[in-house]
């Protein structure tokens, strides 16, 4: 994600001053994937701890 996102996160040099974001879907995807991953991992940790009892 690094090189691409860095490029997309910043303005195309010819468009400085335009004032709105184009693209950036990789940030959105990363957020939703991380949320899903968090839910799965935390639910699993609760399940594992419950089985121990």
């Amino acid at each position: 994600m690094s090189a691409l996102s860095l490029l997309l996160a910043q303005a195309d040099p010819s468009r400085v001053g335009v004032g709105h974001i184009q693209g950036g879907w990789e940030f959105v995807t990363a957020s939703y994937v991380l949320t899903l991953l968090g839910i799965v991992l935390y639910a699993t940790s609760l399940w594992v701890r419950r089985r121990k009892e």
Partner: protein, 158 residues
Amino acid sequence: MKPESRNRLVAIVALGLAASALGFIAWGNLGENLVYYWSPSQLLAQGEKAIGPTIRLGGMVQAGSIQWNAGKTHLDFKVADGKEADAKAVQVSSDEIPPQMFRENIGVVVEGTYDKDAVFHTTRLMVNHSNEYRPPKAGESQKDWQKSLLEEQPQANK
């Protein structure tokens, strides 16, 4: 002391400390001592003291002040107290490509140093978003869209 009364004492002490901490954060002069950024007029009022250390300056990008040199990746603009043409402003110089949302009349916070030639050299240019979320208007062309944004008073942070 019985455990019950000890626990209640603990509760009173914890609540008291919490209330005083909140009072201090909300009404103490924490804001003045640990200020996140200075406004242009605050920076200018500092005089000589502002020259040298790394500081943050926050305000609005003054209309008509943006000068972008794509070849050298150099950006010059003014950060002003407000939208008015006569608002106090500080000249800012940056060697970075700004975030995409950068435009005239948007709130920015810049991190860097102020020099004796009255130019603020920033190494970190941050654009702030207002608390407004609106869809693009139907049939709004890119140019109209930009115009409508510029006509509105952006919600600068306090």
